[in-house]
Amino acid sequence: MLTGGRVVARAAVRSAADDRVAGLVAAGERLKARPASEIIDRLAAVCAKWRDDDWSVRRAAIEALAVHYQVPRLSIVEVLDAAFSGWTGDSLEAWVIGELGDARVLDGFVANDSSSRVAVGPELVVAVAAHGVPTTPITDIMSALLVKAPVWLKPASETDDLTSRFVASIADDDPELGAAIVVGAWPDSPGGREAVLRAATTVIATGREDTVRRLRSCVNPATHVIVHGPRLSAALVTREALTANRGRVINALAEDTAFAGQMGCLSPVAAFVEGSSDELASLVEPLLEACVDRWPAPPRRDASISEQAAFGEWRSLMDVEISAGLSSRWSGDLNAPWTVVARGQAEPPSVPPVPRFLALVPVDGVDDSIQLCDECRGLIATVGVAARGQLFGDIARQLSMAGVERISVLGAMQRPPLGWRRDGRPTLADLVRWVEMER
């Protein structure tokens, strides 16, 4: 059987997985016949519903996520609103135009200076999601649909069900669009996972290196594999910003850190702060309180043994630093939902020993912060900067030279525009294949 020029199943005996994949690819063919503007309109309409406080589907999702993460509904509302408030028809169209130049190139050849070109989306996208911010997998789905590609999204194990709810809302609004999406684990049948991956022309993977390595060995050599991660984020607080409005800085830093329980790589795990050790120490308790306010998750008493071990070693290290005369100060043990530490010495951001952990790192000046980021070149996703006036632009320029991929105002780290260059790369433009016509 040939669909879209690709052999989907050639074995004499077709498996259930093969059938599901064939169904997806067929739905993708139907998608490709629709105008891009229509797909944008339908996605925008569904996202608009998700902004409606009175919509029963949204309310049920908030309820379910609040139970899943054991946080108040308000914490979940903030996560949903941070995403859906930016997902409008205008922003979706701007995303497509920003990356492809013209949305019509998805519908057919569009004349250019000397030729015409069309952007063809993949025959099948398989997206493998990692644990993270609940709305992140939805952007993978939307990006596939915007380039008219059907998508199989494999969620992280034991994750929340927001993505499934979102997809159900699409199917409810536009069954044909819904038919082009599967959200689910790999098929149970023997070879089910391989069948799905073999059929993929593009695989998007977010996760650990070993996961990605295993994935690569399962896909066809010609399959386009797009890998996201690993990344960390940091904050940079200048002395003037802290002096001018300490309360605002604390709120903004907590806003970025505590968003979705620090599950995403846009949440800072370290904040470079220009100030004395006493000043840093004085930020520990207010920041801890502000993080708990925003994401009051249960204590981490049931942290895994690995995390307990890492935290135990880290706690001993703090005692070593104190013994060595370094003014390390921290608050929030495993009986607390969060830990905030004012480090005694400057260090680049690193993976925290336990979830929900923020390190305040003392720096003498902006140059030190830039240097610390430079030492993690390729690892820093976003730096949220608290600086005033011209200084912000200067810092941003230097951070860009130090390998940082995105610089935002502190407090806005979690609200990147739809078309932001994740990992420094385009999203939609990475998915399409350009075809030129010259005559």
Partner: protein
């Protein structure tokens, strides 16, 4: 004519005490498994080393005070010695001796570590003795010498690496002519493939067994570079793989590497020795599969890494610090007499368990570990040694 100034009395006392301790520790290491130091001997010597470190490392003394130990006599047994986290080797200068007495220093590697951990030595006598004693028992129980092919840079290229130093000791003590290092530069890249292929071809042609040794990641890269050719190294050839066994930091699948070694190098599983070590320790642990195969009168090797008589491993509840019973899974604390000049007790975030017969099993990350987003993957960037 000038005479060298005599050391101040405190330094003189330190030197004398260090020499006395070293003599006792060397005796324990040298006696090895044949006449192992007994429980009370270990306890006394561990407490003596602790007292030495308490006396001559003021930061450690302060650290002990935070742990409720205000004098060395407060410690009634080796299990009560306050363990130092591995991160302490990155804070200041973690050593009992003055800078001018430093004979060697090994550094932890890592992509994002601003300050590497540094393990400093005033003598390598204990370190080398520990390397030789354990390697002789577990890696070379049947041979005086063997040609060693190291998947690592040479000591000249990586003078700060404890792993490379260990290989250099192997070469010196156990290596036949032709022993060589096959990586260029200080990283695991830079495999000199043609030279490695020539050495492997040579071994097959001559029929003399070889040791191939390296970190798990180096094996992974080398096996990939060697392609799909299937070799059959001479009988008695063996491998030593280190690192890559800790679940949270796993870069490589040890089973996959073991299978690949068997299939591509022709080294059977019984001759694939695994080693556990870290820059912050002077003593290494090996599994006993090779020893069981060629020397011991047992059908199967005992499980886990074997801890030599001059060291102990305690498994603790990471939150309370309490020792767990055999089989309990918790954080590993190492007690290593050969760490006389640094820290006799070292706390790690490695998770494992003790077996009933004294082995140590390392555990992987639990499947229910709380997710931490894509940042979790970043830990894979950190080198283990």
């Amino acid at each position: 004519m000038t005479r060298a100034a005599a050391p101040p009395p405190r330094e003189k006392a330190r030197q004398e005490e260090a020499e006395r301790l070293d003599a006792e520790i060397l005796h324990a290491v040298g006696s090895g498994w044949m006449d192992p130091i007994d429980a009370s001997g270990f306890d006394q010597l561990a407490r003596d080393v602790f007292a030495h470190q308490f006396r001559f490392n003021p930061v450690y003394r302060q650290f002990c005070a935070l742990r409720g130990v205000s004098a060395s006599r407060d410690v009634a047994g080796w299990k009560q010695i306050p363990p130092v986290p591995t991160g302490a080797f990155k804070v200041g200068r973690w050593a009992t001796f003055p800078e001018q007495r430093e004979a060697a220093a090994f550094r932890t590697s890592g992509t994002v570590q601003r300050t590497p951990g540094v393990h400093r030595f005033d003598t390598l006598a204990l370190y080398n003795a520990a390397i030789i004693s354990s390697a002789r028992r577990f890696l070379f129980p049947d041979r005086k010498r063997i040609r060693c092919l190291f998947l690592s840079p040479s000591p000249a290229e990586a003078p700060d690496s404890s792993l490379v130093h260990m290989f250099a000791v192997y070469r010196e003590v156990f290596g036949d002519p032709g022993s060589a290092f096959f990586l260029s530069g200080s990283s695991s890249g830079g495999l000199r493939l043609e030279e490695l292929i020539a050495a492997l071809d040579d071994a097959e042609e001559i029929g003399e067994p070889v040791l191939v040794a390296g970190a798990a990641l180096a094996f992974h890269n080398a096996l990939a570079a060697l392609g799909s050719d299937r070799r059959q190294l001479p009988a008695g050839s063996r491998t030593m793989v280190t690192g890559g066994f800790k679940g949270a930091l796993r870069k490589t699948d040890p089973d996959a590497i073991g299978n690949a070694i068997a299939a591509r190098l022709g080294v059977p599983a019984d001759y694939q020795v695994e080693e556990y070590g870290m820059t912050e320790l002077s003593t290494q642990y090996y599994d006993e599969r090779l020893r069981t195969e060629v020397v011991e009168d047992r059908d199967h090797p005992r499980l886990g890494f074997r801890v030599p008589p001059w060291a102990r491993v305690m498994v603790i509840d990471a939150e309370t610090g309490a020792e767990l019973e055999t089989g309990g899974v918790g954080a590993l604390v190492h007690f290593d007499l050969a760490n006389r000049a640094s820290a006799v007790a070292v706390q790690t975030s490695d998770v494992g368990q003790r077996t009933a017969d004294g082995g140590v099993l390392l555990c992987g990350r639990e499947p229910n570990a709380e997710a931490r987003g894509c940042s979790l993957a970043a830990e894979l960037w950190l080198e283990q040694r």
